[in-house]
C-alpha cells in the first residue's frame, strides 16, 4: 500500500482550508482524501490528508511553510485507527426491501430512513469497509452516495 496519512494541526483561522487546498493543487500533489474538523483544543483544527507515498515528503514540507499550519504528523500505518462515514440512498421495492435492509444491517450500517421506494443507510468504517459496502448494494441501484472523508488517529503515543 503506497498510501500515507498526514494528521495536520492548523490554526482555526479564516481561509486556512483555502491555503491548504491551494498549496496542494498548485504543486500538483495527489490527494486521495481530505477532511477538516475542530479538535479538543480551542482555536485548533485538524486536517486528515491521505496522499501517495511519492508526494508525501513534499506535501509535508510545502504545507509546513504555511504560517497557519502548526504541526504535521505522518501516521504510522500499523498503529493507526481510521474511520470514515458514509451516507447512501438505495433504491428498493417490495421484493428487494427485506434483503437490502438485511444486508446493510449485517454490514453494520444503520437504516436512517426507509421510504416506499428508497432506504438511507449510514455506515462508519475504514475506507475498505465502505468500498465493500458500496459493491454490496450496487446491484440494487444506488441513488446517491456521500463519503465524509477519512479521519485517523494514532493509537500509541
Amino acid at each position: 500500500m503506497s498510501e500515507r496519512i498526514l494528521s495536520v494541526l492548523v490554526e482555526d483561522k479564516p481561509g486556512v482550508l483555502a491555503r491548504v487546498a491551494l498549496t496542494i493543487s498548485r504543486r500538483g500533489f495527489n490527494i486521495n482524501s481530505l477532511s477538516v474538523g475542530p479538535t479538543n483544543i480551542e482555536g485548533r483544527s485538524k486536517m486528515t490528508i491521505v496522499t501517495e507515498l511519492e508526494s508525501v515528503e513534499q506535501v509535508k514540507k510545502q504545507l509546513n511553510k504555511l504560517v497557519n499550519v502548526i504541526k504535521i504528523v505522518e501516521l504510522d500505518p500499523d498503529n493507526t485507527i481510521e474511520s470514515e462515514v458514509l451516507l447512501m440512498k438505495v433504491s428498493i421495492n417490495k421484493e428487494t426491501q427485506t434483503s437490502v435492509i438485511e444486508k446493510a444491517n449485517l454490514s453494520g450500517a444503520k437504516s436512517v430512513d426507509v421510504g416506499q421506494d428508497y432506504a438511507v443507510f449510514e455506515l462508519t468504517g475504514t475506507s475498505k469497509e465502505l468500498i465493500k459496502f458500496e459493491k454490496l448494494l450496487k446491484p440494487y441501484g444506488i441513488i446517491e452516495m456521500i463519503r465524509g472523508g477519512r479521519i485517523a488517529i494514532q493509537t500509541k503515543l
Binding site: 490554526e11 479564516p14 483555502a18 491551494l22 498549496t23 513534499q58 514540507k61 511553510k65 504560517v67 499550519v69
Partner: protein
C-alpha cells in the same frame, strides 16, 4: 491613564513609523484613501508611482538594495491586482515586502462592490502569507507580525488587506509586541550532526565546488563564504541571484552556471565530485535537465527553507539553516584541515583559458551589448548598483559585469518579470540617494514600465538608465532564430518608435543616444555629468547578436553551445 484613540488609518502610519519605515511606495485610490491622510503629516517619504506594478517593483528594489523590508501601498480592486506581479516576483526571489492594500468596506465585501477584488484569495499563492484585518485594534499587531514574517526565515512578500471602514474605525494605540506564532518557527541554527557529515565529505573531496545563490546575500554571509572558499581553496559558482555574493575577479570565482552561464561554471559542476550548495534551489535555469546535472557529484544542500531540500535533487547531506550559521559551522569543524584542490583548480584554470567569454565589436559595426557594458563599468563607480530587466541584456550583464559585493546586482530572477529594472532602480536610489544606480534595460522591458520615468523625474531621483535598443524582444528573437526557423513572429519592436531621446525629455529626463563605437565614451561621460535629473541613454545595438554560451531548455549541461557555429550541431 486613558489610552490614545486613533483611527485605523492613523494606526497604520503610527505603526510604520514605529517599525522605522522611512520610505513607502504606492498609488492612492478610493478604499485606501483614509490611510493617505495621516501619511500627509508623517515624516515617512511616500513615492508616488504611476502604476501599482511599478510601486511594487520599487519596494522590491529598495528591499534588494538594503536587505530590509520594502513597503508598498495600493488601493482595492485594480490597485491590488496590479500589484500581484511584483508580489509573485518577490516570492520567487525571496525579497522581503510588506504590501498594504485598501479593501471595500466590510459590509460590501462579497457583493461585487465598486473596485472590489478578493485580494486575500488572489494573493494566497503570490505571497508568503497574507491577512484580512477585521478590526482596527489589531492593525499594529498584524503589521508587526507581517514585517516579521516578511524579513525572517526565507524572506518574502506579506500582504495586509484593510477594509475602508476599518481605516476609519477608532481604536487604542498599544505598542505591538511580537507574540508566539505557533506555525512559524524558521530553523536558523544548523544541526551539528549534519555539519559533521558535510565536513567529512568536504575533507575527502577531490573536486569540490561551492554552488551559492541568493541565500548568501539574504543571510549577509558573504564574508563567511569568502573565508570558507579562500581558506580551503574551494572554487565558487554564483547563480544569477547570487552574483556579488563572492567577488568576481578572485581566482576562485567561476561566475554564473546554467542555461546562459559561462562554459567553465557550467562544466565544472558537471565534473565536480562534491557540490556544496548554499542558499540555492537547483533552479531549472541552472540544472537544465536535472537527470544529467552533476551526475558525478555528491551533494550537500543547505537552505533555510526545508522544502527546497530534496525538491529537485536528493542530497547526501541535507542541512536546514541560515547560510551564515551553516558556513560558520563548516569553518569551525574543518578547522586546520587542508583540502588538496590544486589539480582541480588547475583544471578549472585551463577551462577558463580555453573557453573565455568573447564578443566581436567591429570598429564600424553595430554596437554589441558586452562591449558597451565593459566600457560602462570602466567609467562607473566601484560600488554602483546595477539593476536589470529580463532577457538578453540581463544575461550579458550577469556574464560580463564584475560584481564585487552583495546587494549591487538587482534583477528579476525566478519570475523573469520584464519591466523590473526602472522601478526597482528607483527604489534602490530612494534607499541610497548618494550611490550611483544604473538601470540597464532592454527596449522590450523598458516599454513595459517606462511611465515610471515620470516618477523618477518628479520625485527627484536622478538615475542613470541605459536602454539597450535592439528593436526587438531580443531573447524571443534569439529563440525564433534557433528553434523556429527564423520566423520572427511578433518579436519586432523597431529601433525608432518610440524616439527614446524625445520620450526621456517629455518625461522630465535627459535623453542621449549612442549608435556606434566612437559615441560610447562621450555619451557615458555626459550621462555621468548629469546628476540633477534622470538620464536615459538610447543605446542602439545589433538586433542579431545572440547570447552565448547556451544550453537548450531541458537539455544536458554537458552540451554547452559556445557560439553560432555550434548551433549547426543541434
Amino acid at each position: 491613564m486613558t489610552k490614545e484613540k486613533l483611527s485605523g488609518a492613523e494606526l497604520i502610519v503610527r505603526t510604520l513609523e514605529h517599525l522605522n519605515v522611512s520610505t513607502v511606495f504606492g498609488v492612492p485610490g478610493g478604499a485606501i484613501l483614509p490611510a493617505y491622510d495621516p501619511l500627509y503629516d508623517s515624516p515617512i517619504r511616500h513615492i508616488l508611482a504611476r502604476h501599482e506594478q511599478g510601486a511594487g517593483h520599487m519596494a522590491e528594489g529598495y528591499a534588494q538594495a538594503t536587505g530590509d523590508v520594502g513597503v508598498v501601498i495600493a488601493t482595492s480592486g485594480p490597485g491590488a491586482t496590479n500589484l500581484i506581479t511584483s508580489l509573485n516576483n518577490a516570492l520567487m526571489d525571496s525579497t522581503p515586502l510588506l504590501a498594504i492594500t485598501g479593501q471595500v468596506a466590510s459590509d460590501f465585501i462579497g457583493n461585487d462592490a465598486f473596485q472590489e477584488a478578493y485580494t486575500v484569495g488572489l494573493t494566497i499563492s503570490a505571497t508568503k502569507h497574507n491577512y484580512l484585518i477585521t478590526n482596527a485594534e489589531e492593525i499594529p499587531q498584524v503589521l508587526l507580525e507581517a514585517k516579521h514574517i516578511a524579513t525572517t526565515g526565507r524572506p518574502g512578500p506579506v500582504l495586509v488587506d484593510i477594509p475602508k471602514d476599518i481605516l476609519n474605525e477608532k481604536a487604542n494605540w498599544t505598542e505591538p509586541k511580537l507574540e508566539d506564532l505557533p506555525g512559524y518557527k524558521p530553523t536558523l541554527e544548523a544541526n551539528p550532526k549534519m555539519i559533521q557529515q558535510a565536513v567529512e565529505l568536504i575533507k575527502n573531496a577531490k573536486k569540490p565546488i561551492l554552488y551559492v545563490g541568493g541565500g548568501i546575500i539574504h543571510s549577509k554571509a558573504n564574508k563567511e563564504l569568502f573565508e570558507l572558499s579562500t581558506k580551503y581553496n574551494i572554487p565558487v559558482v554564483t547563480t544569477l541571484m547570487g552574483r556579488g555574493a563572492f567577488p568576481d575577479g578572485n581566482e576562485l570565482c567561476i561566475g554564473m552556471p546554467g542555461m546562459h552561464g559561462n562554459y567553465t561554471a557550467t562544466t565544472s559542476i558537471q565534473k565536480s565530485d562534491l557540490l556544496i550548495a548554499l542558499g540555492v534551489r537547483f533552479d531549472d535555469r541552472v540544472t537544465a535537465n536535472p537527470k544529467f546535472f552533476a551526475q558525478k557529484a555528491k551533494v550537500i544542500h543547505a537552505d533555510i527553507d526545508p522544502a527546497e531540500i530534496g525538491k529537485v535533487r536528493e542530497p547526501e547531506v541535507p542541512i536546514v539553516g541560515d547560510a551564515k550559521s551553516v558556513i560558520n559551522g563548516l569553518i569551525e569543524k574543518l578547522g586546520d584541515s587542508e583540502i588538496d584542490t590544486n589539480s582541480w583548480l588547475n583544471e578549472i584554470k585551463d577551462m577558463k583559458e580555453n573557453y573565455p567569454l568573447n564578443y566581436n565589436q567591429e570598429e564600424k559595426g553595430p554596437l554589441k551589448v558586452p562591449y558597451v557594458l565593459e566600457e560602462l563599468q570602466k567609467m562607473s563607480e566601484e560600488d554602483s548598483i546595477v539593476v536589470s530587466g529580463v532577457g538578453q541584456h540581463q544575461m550579458w550583464i550577469s556574464l560580463h559585469w564584475k560584481f564585487k559585493s552583495p546587494n549591487t546586482w538587482l534583477n528579476s530572477g525566478g519570475l523573469g518579470t520584464m519591466g523590473y529594472a526602472l522601478p526597482a532602480a528607483i527604489g534602490a536610489k530612494a534607499a541610497f540617494p548618494d550611490k550611483q544606480i544604473l538601470a540597464l534595460d532592454g527596449d522590450g522591458c523598458f516599454q513595459m514600465t517606462c511611465q515610471e520615468l515620470i516618477t523618477a523625474s518628479t520625485e527627484n531621483i536622478p538615475l542613470k538608465i541605459v536602454v539597450f535598443n535592439n528593436g526587438n524582444h531580443g531573447m524571443v528573437r534569439q529563440w525564433q532564430k534557433i528553434f523556429y526557423n527564423h520566423r520572427f513572429s511578433a518579436s519586432e519592436l523597431t529601433h525608432h518608435t518610440p524616439d527614446y531621446v524625445a520620450l526621456a525629455e517629455a518625461m522630465g529626463a535627459t535623453g542621449l543616444r549612442m549608435v556606434e563605437k566612437s559615441d560610447v565614451k562621450r555619451v557615458f561621460e555626459e550621462m555621468f555629468k548629469t546628476n540633477d535629473r534622470p538620464v536615459l541613454v538610447d543605446c542602439v545595438v545589433d538586433p542579431d547578436d545572440m547570447v552565448f554560451p547556451m544550453v537548450k531548455a531541458g537539455g544536458s549541461n554537458d552540451e554547452v553551445i559556445l557560439n553560432e557555429d555550434d548551433l549547426k550541431n543541434i
